[in-house]
Each structure stands twice: as structure tokens, then as C-alpha cells.
Symmetry: C2
Subunit: 418 residues, 2 copies
Amino acid sequence: MKIEIITIGDELLIGQIKDLNSFYICQELYKIGLRTNYFTTVGDSYDDIYAALDISLKRSNIVILTGGLGPTNDDKTKGVLCDYFRSKIVFAKIIYDDIKELFRYRGIEITEINRNQALVPDNAVVIRNTVGIAPSLLFNFGDKLIFALPGVPFEMKEAMKEVVYIIRQNCKLPIVCQKIIHTQGIAESLLAEKIREWEESLPSNISLAYLPSPGIVRLRLTNVGNDRCSVENQLKSEINKLKKIINEYIYGYDDDDDFGKVLGRLLRDKKKMLAIAESCTGGYVSHLITNVPGSSDYFKGSVIAYSNDIKENILKIDKKVIEKHGAVSDIVSREMALGVKKLFNTDCSIGITGIAGPGGGTQNKPVGLVFITAVCDNMIVTKKFIFTSDRGRNIIISGLTALNMLRKLIEQEDKCDM
Amino acid sequence: MKIEIITIGDELLIGQIKDLNSFYICQELYKIGLRTNYFTTVGDSYDDIYAALDISLKRSNIVILTGGLGPTNDDKTKGVLCDYFRSKIVFAKIIYDDIKELFRYRGIEITEINRNQALVPDNAVVIRNTVGIAPSLLFNFGDKLIFALPGVPFEMKEAMKEVVYIIRQNCKLPIVCQKIIHTQGIAESLLAEKIREWEESLPSNISLAYLPSPGIVRLRLTNVGNDRCSVENQLKSEINKLKKIINEYIYGYDDDDDFGKVLGRLLRDKKKMLAIAESCTGGYVSHLITNVPGSSDYFKGSVIAYSNDIKENILKIDKKVIEKHGAVSDIVSREMALGVKKLFNTDCSIGITGIAGPGGGTQNKPVGLVFITAVCDNMIVTKKFIFTSDRGRNIIISGLTALNMLRKLIEQEDKCDM
């Protein structure tokens, strides 16, 4: 079975908007075991849309179009579909009622142009739009399915739920199980090295993808088969084997991928309050924590001690210590963490100092050198890292590493308690 | 003239990697006055690449392929191109020397598989890769140009410089001038309203695009014509008219779009030191400032005062003031800014307090309510805002608004001085 996604819109072809619809749709299809074969993007041109549809129907069994369904003159998709599938246009009262209801809710008056959205092809299944005005359409053409969805991303995403449901009903699909494993603290190449033997021994129906981003590597395992129970069990068994090899790097699974959330949940559960002293990360670590709703439950605040002044006068680090060891040193990261913990009267704290770059590096203290201290009650750990030569990456990686160090420390305390 | 971009790679079609190459390439082409007509994405399949190339050559004059040029078995592009254009494979010593040099620099040993990268089609122009190993290829097919570029984004970007140069040489292109105007502090719909008359009176050869992102709206003006002088002058004249209408919202032009950089340059020029007191933005404002290299020249540090404790004990805000007015109030944002300015002994400061949401809102103080104070020497301004219901957007918009308020204040001081 071949699948094609066609995205429509002039704005995509001049670099005004990124086509993220194709990306989303193919991910949703992959979750139910379907690989997409083609993406096509064309502008708001009747001829180009017609030709793209024609090509797609010669090579694909399922075609999903997005965009060009709106009410204005540059929306050509419905016209092309009606001509291609020789439809008559009919008025769909249920769609019109939906539109009226939406406009009533928003307190806007309905216009003639919006009414046109309720004019639909007589030979299409009309899929109601619960979050916007343009309904989606489904044509059955021989044994092929052709979906036309709105181009607005959140409307498209709503419509895709229905699309996935219909495809499931119409096609004999394999059972697919997917698990995403989030790791921190190990580079992609080292991770690949560490799990190579395990990866090479994976059954052929399980596929592995590496999804790296700065400071984090995600592993996506996909298992495809015919029996749900065995597909799930096989995947579980492989993940258990994997855990034995890289457990120390795993911080979450599937949608539970936000480090601020993972650490926040832990702090809330353990009733710990956190304070942070940042130098080279300049507020980014605090941002990771406070981006999470409800973080005031466990986060008291931070001192961003960018200049040595602040390290001395606010965090009360001895001037002599900074002079002797330098502001970028293990002892200063330690004093920062302990200083802010005392100042803010918290259970946990983080101290970070380093050289983010691009300037400021020396032979002994190169760009990318970062010292991080995590404190939880009377436990303390300080680590030295040499990250990259890129400022932006250094800030991100330092931030994630700091959160992970504190996570491990809190979990470790838990083990000591038992 | 029709243009097509073909991106190649299985990873694109299962949602492992976003295709950002098409986006970049079409933007580069648009800068020289060329509109792209088609994007196509296919997997690492010989037949699919062959068919896509065949389709593209029937409808397009310039075809740009990316991906599948690497040395491994799943890289099929070179094979397809050689078959399609009936090439013989020859060894290109100059390419091999480039590869040897790159490997020497990286300190890695060169393998047989890398040597294969120097095997190139005899009827293609070979474009050297200065940042990687796979060279780009250019085929002339009748009057059509077919480029094959590496898929790795930074290698593709390097190669695109050459592509643009060659297209300029080969095609009679119009003169294109583009100007991007960055605005802050006005919503897209209001901006559109404000400049409608100006927009409607634009000459037909000048096109306008709105590029909104949270807190910022960019306007892209593109002028196309045959005479450089008149194209540039016409654009300048329209921008001067636009400035008269929305000057207070404009903070930068073209690549000068990073707010942290714009404010940082101003602080450095005026020899001002900055300190920040953040509550609801939780470190994000400091992050915007410190993401810029060299920000330690003008940034001393911040207090993230998430809990009232910190507002009272560190920033020395009277407990009674907080009790009377609430932590989210104009007076507290003012006291935060003044408190951190005094504590850190700086010329400028920012104080922000608000309700980022989703929780914590009341009838009188809804989610999205934010008070921002900017201080420069003895000038102070406090403003009240009601942004959105979304936490992430509120944090971003608050941060950008704060930086813009301080920017205006410093510029205003400048005017007072004169």
C-alpha cells in the first residue's frame, strides 16, 4: 500500500510558512504501522493541484491533501476535487449549523462567503470540523481513499483523528507498538556504541530510530506484527534488556519528555524546595523549571550571578576563593549552590559556572568547560564537563545536565532512605 | 520558468526528521526573484527517486535534489542520476584530495567507502564540498538545470551559495530587493489595520508578507523589477512611508532580528549595566540577554524572585506592600526593578511580575496579567498588560515586551540628552 501527502499553498513555496503538516500526518500514520511514500507540495493553482492529484492517484492508494479548502478565491482544492471526481455541489445543512454555532460562540456575524463552506460535493463523505469552519472531505475512488483536510494545523490535527479512525476501519493494518525512550548525559555516538550488541540482536520486525537534539537523545522503538499481545510483550522484553545497559541515562518515556516536568514532579512528590545559582547558563535553567505550570509549588527562585560582584556580594562567595580558583571552577560552582541554598532557605539547589563561548576560553579553561553542582539536603555532587564550542548548545546542554544531576541525586537519596 | 525541489530520505517520510531543506532552498531562491513551484519528497528507493526525477523534468526547468549522495548503500541518488543521464563514472582526483584533507584535519583515517565519494559522473559539473565529503553535482539536460546537493543541512546551505551563483549566471533574472521589518508590541491584526491604507496603495510589483511569531510580527517587503536603482529606491520610499506609521513598533531590519542583540548593542554603546528581577517569566528575560555572546559586558545578573519570600528578603520589598497590593501589581514590579538596581548597583533594570497561567488567575487578576517596569538611570516606566491564556506565550511575549520597553527608555534618554 502506498500513501501520499499533498500540501497546498503558495506561502509554503516562498518560505513564508514551514510545511509541518506533512511531518505531523506521517507521524500519525507511522503510529498505526503505515509508512508514507510521497510528500508533494504545490501552490494555490488549479492546474497544479489537479496534476498533483492525478499523479498521486496513479501511484498511491491513500492520498491526504491539506490546505486550499477555505472560503476565499485562492482556495482551489474543493473545485479541483469536484471536477476530478465529477461531483455535484449540494448544500449540507448540518455543516451550516456547525458554522452558525461557531460564529455565534465567537460573537461574529456569518457572511455569505462562510455559508459557501456548507456547499459540499454530493459524492464525498463530509467530515465535520469541530474547531473551524471548513469541513474535511473523503472520496472513495475505486479502492482508493482520498482525504482533503483544512491546512490550518490545529484543524488538520483534529481532522487527522477521524482520518486515522477511517483508515483503521478500511484497511487491514498490522498491530504496531511504539515506545520512545528519552536519554540525557550521553552523546549519540557513544550511546550507539554502548547498545550496538543489543541493537544488532533486535528481531527484524523491531526497528530503532535515533532522534537526537542538543543534550538529549531519544530512541524510538517500533514493533510491527499481527498479534497485539506478542507485539507488546516482545517490545517490553527488548526495552527491559535495553534498560539494563543504559538505565542511568534514561529519564522518561513516550510523551513524558519535558525535563522540567520530570524534575518538577519529583520535587513535588518529595516535598523539596529548589533554588538555583546560574552563571554561564544565564537564566536558562530557571526557565526550564518555570516553564512548567505550577512550578511555584517547588521553586523559590534564582540568582543569576553573571558578574563576580554578584557571586561575592549576594551569594557570599569569598573573593579570595574566586581569585585563587577562578570564577569557572569546581569550588565556585559548589559555593554558588550552597550559597543560594542558604540564602533562599531551600532543600535542593543547583550551581553552574562555565565558559559558554565563543570568547573567554583559554588553554586551561577552554570554551565549553562547565562545572555543575547539585545539592539535595546534605548530599552534594559536583561534576566537570567539556561540552561544545557553540554557545547556544553549551547553554542548553548545561541546563539539561544540571537538571539530570539533581534528578539522580534526589532519586539516590530515596534509595539511601530505604 | 518552473522550479522543483526534491528531498530524499526515508527518515523524512516517517516523521523522524523535518524537511527543512525545501524551506531553506525556496527562501534562497525567492531572494533572487524565483518562485518555487513544487516540493517533492521520496524515500531512499531507486525507483521512487527515478520516477520523481522523471516527473520533475517534464514540468520544471530547474530541479534541485537534496539527500542520498552519501557513501552508504541506502544512498541512491548518484546511481539514479547516472542512469537517467547515461553517465560514465570517473575518478575525480581533486575531490579525493578534498576528502583526504578533511579527514586529515579531523584526524580520522580515510576508508574505501569514502574514496567512492570521489567517483563522479563524467557528464556532470562537480561542485566541491567545503564542509563535508559528498560533492554536489550539476547536470545540464537540454536547457534544464539539475542540481544534486547533500542532504545534511549545513552542507546543503554551503552548496546553495554555488547553486544561486550558477542560476544567476544561466538565467535572465529580474532585480529583486527584499527588506524585513521587525516589530514588537502590536498584534498582527492591529498592525494590518494600522497599515491597511499604505498596504493598499503599494505598487503592484511590491509584495508584502506578514510573518508572525509570539510577541513579534515581521513584515517582508519584496520588490521585483528590471532596474536595480529604481527597484531599491521604490522599496526605500515605501519603507519610509511605513516608518512614519509604525515607527514606534520597529526594532530592527533584516538579519538584525534578535532582541537580545539589539538591546545588548544599545547597552554596550551607552555604557549601561543591566540587572533584572523576574517573577512570572522565571529566567526567560535573563536568558534572552545572556544568549548573546559578550553579554557579560553589560549584564550583571538577576534575581528570579518566584516566591514572595525572595521578593521580601532579597529584593527588600516591604511585606506590607505585597500584602496590600498583591505580588502581581504595578507597585511590586516597580519595587522589584528598583530593588535589583540598588542591590546589583546598575544603571538599568527590569522588573516583571504577572500571572503566566494556566492557574492562579482571578476575576480581577486574570491569567495573562503582567506588570513590567523598566528603569534607566533616573527614568522609570511601568506598564500593565493583559496577554494571552497560554503560559508559554505569556512568558515569551512578556520577555520581549520588557526588552522593548527598556530599549525605548534608553533611546528616549538619548533624545532628552540632545
